[in-house]
Point group: C2
């Protein structure tokens, strides 16, 4: 098979397979993204082996995640996020501290080395903004207070997760560069605040110039440039690309209707998001579960990953009442992108074993598979949301 043939077969399998499973899961009244991840597990190395991880699929998955967060940002207004910033900070911070503490304690109790324990703990802290956002969006719940708290807290703990990664990396190298860490943290926080507070104002200033461009659909083109530019900038300041995409969406949220951004970005999201979710499943090789010790460790780590977010984030959201606190706790359970980055860095530094790497990968996919149905069942007005 030549390059073109492999590419087209991959594109067809991911898109058609992902959408087929999404359709089946919608009919079973289950979240579409769970269907897409299972399509990846089925088509990937775990079962059929028709899809293999590749640079091209990884790139399309990354673009899919960027467009997903961009879409979610477009539907969120900065002032709504700022309104919940107190609760979200508490939820995000406790949602980092508790998983880290439980993860570290478990690893030390089972006699793992200090550095390996720290890396597994760090891989447990960051909620997958992508998965959570898609579930909230599919359920039509993006406008609720709960969704805003979850989104803001998930963005915050992605930022904290990248800072934790910087800390544990320098610890594993034997010395902590406090100044460097302060710079990483400062850059990430300043960049995010700058985008949230001033992004929308800058976009408003650009507005009169947009109409004068010769390029067709110039507002959409400019929006995509901003999305790609902020994604790149956010990688430069040490955060995940998707945070930049989300911030770009936020900055453009006020213009979204007038510039007809939602209707232009939505087809891109619909085309590319399946690559993100299906690829989550393709990256996993479930056969590794049969290797000695992997199954038991995966079960314990996944359980701790679920409980620690429920407890930490739930406690942080208690002021909103019990029900809302449980929903927020469940919404924060899925792990993804950032946890996988931490595990990959640990593996490349040779401080975590293949077994621990596999466990982190499986934990990410399992939390991502389990949380959406639970969240959907807990959502208010679920029958309408389910049948929409």
């Amino acid at each position: 098979m030549n390059h073109t043939e492999t590419l087209l077969l991959d594109l067809f399998l991911v898109f058609a397979g992902g959408k087929l499973f999404a359709e089946i899961f919608e009919r079973l009244r289950q979240p579409a993204i769970v269907g897409q991840i299972l399509a990846g597990l089925l088509l990937g190395p775990s079962l059929l082996g028709w899809l293999q991880p590749s640079d091209v699929l990884a790139a399309l998955a990354e673009i899919g995640a960027i467009l997903l967060l961009f879409t979610v940002g477009l539907e969120t207004r900065p002032r709504d996020l700022l309104a919940v910033s107190g609760t979200a900070t508490l939820v995000g911070t406790l949602g980092v501290v508790v998983p880290f503490a439980l993860g570290y304690a478990y690893m030390r109790a089972t006699s793992h080395a200090g550095t390996e324990s720290i890396f597994l703990a760090a891989a447990m802290v960051a909620t997958s903004v992508g998965v959570t956002a898609a579930v909230l969006k599919d359920a039509g719940a993006l406008g609720t207070q709960m969704a805003r708290v979850i989104l803001a807290a998930a963005v915050l703990d992605d930022i904290l997760g990248m800072i934790v990664l910087a800390v544990v990396t320098s610890l594993s190298e034997g010395r902590v560069h406090y100044l460097q860490l302060a710079i990483v943290a400062g850059e990430a926080i300043l960049f995010s605040l700058f985008a949230i507070l001033l992004g929308a104002r800058i976009v408003r200033r650009l507005e009169p110039h947009v109409a004068r461009l010769r390029t067709s659909n110039s507002a959409f083109v400019l929006a995509v440039v901003l999305c790609l530019g902020l994604s790149l900038a956010s990688v430069y300041v040490g955060m995940a690309a998707i945070i930049g995409a989300f911030l770009a969406g936020l900055a453009l949220a006020d213009q979204s209707e007038r510039w007809r951004l939602a209707e232009n970005v939505h087809p891109l999201y619909e085309f590319l998001a399946p690559f993100f979710f299906v690829y989550l499943g393709v990256q996993v090789n479930a056969r590794t579960l049969t290797e000695p010790g992997v199954l038991a460790m995966t079960a314990v780590v996944t359980l701790l990953a679920i409980l620690s977010k429920l407890i930490g984030c739930g406690a942080g959201a208690l002021r909103l009442g019990w029900r809302e606190a449980v929903r927020i706790g469940v919404g924060m359970v899925p792990r993804g992108e950032v946890g996988l980055i931490v595990a990959a860095v640990g593996a490349s530094l040779h401080v975590i074993s293949d077994r621990v790497y596999t466990v982190v990968l499986l934990m990410s996919v399992l939390t991502t598979l389990l949380a959406p149905p639970a969240l959907r069942a807990l959502l208010p007005g679920k029958t309408t949301a389910r049948d929409s």
Copy 2:
């Protein structure tokens, strides 16, 4: 730089750079795609070296070309193509025979080996449907008789080009498998006729089922599945993927309005087509022009490539009158995808030298840069088209 950083920098440079140059060229009243190809030359190895050819960019370029031809197919009705099929067959066939003969004669006259001569000749036959379609689309001329003749003839000579490739490949291996060739040719022609004649009918049968799907925007999803599926199928029967995408567009053309396909596919096209055009420029390293003999040979081969299509295709279209024949001849000049495939196969079989490979690459880009401004100047009502 890690993977993600490289990916995001590439995405940003291609999209923002391509759109910036498109805007500048629109203001200079030149075709946008010429600006995009020049952006690739500027950012690629020829000048700045900020972009390098890569698997990921090649994949995005291929997806861009597929969406381009899909969009063009959606705006073309099968019956309009069939109405010009007589003229188009003559234009397409003469547009293959004349370039092949001139190319072969020149190579033999300059004492190249027989096999190398045949490969260069074969690389000169196929018009770039992608480039031509984009120029016609940007000029708002897709609905004209001339555009239909050019499109149908360009699709036909892509098919003929792939058959010629099969012939010259088996020649270079010392024996011609007539049966195999007949099968390749038969498959390609049957597949295309089947899609043109029956595709629309099959889609109409599917219509009542589409509304019953739970997937949001199900008609669009189905259209993308058909586009990717026919692209894959067309590679399986030995044609370029973009022909399958064009055929999928044709099959859906009648539904395009009711299913709101154009407005959903257009953002995809606007996002990904720049990757196709910018990458054309990135693939070229203009510094090779300074190598001994390359400049002179490129000049001659490019001149022959232009004249042979003007003469061959112009003669084939004479029954439509002189003016129309010249326009069609110019419209058929750009070479691209299929010529590059032929040259790549020749290089992989070690029957063409690096120098000849470079010349084919440069000829493709030069014909692609020169034809669009000429075509645009020759179009009827050019002032309106230019200022739109």
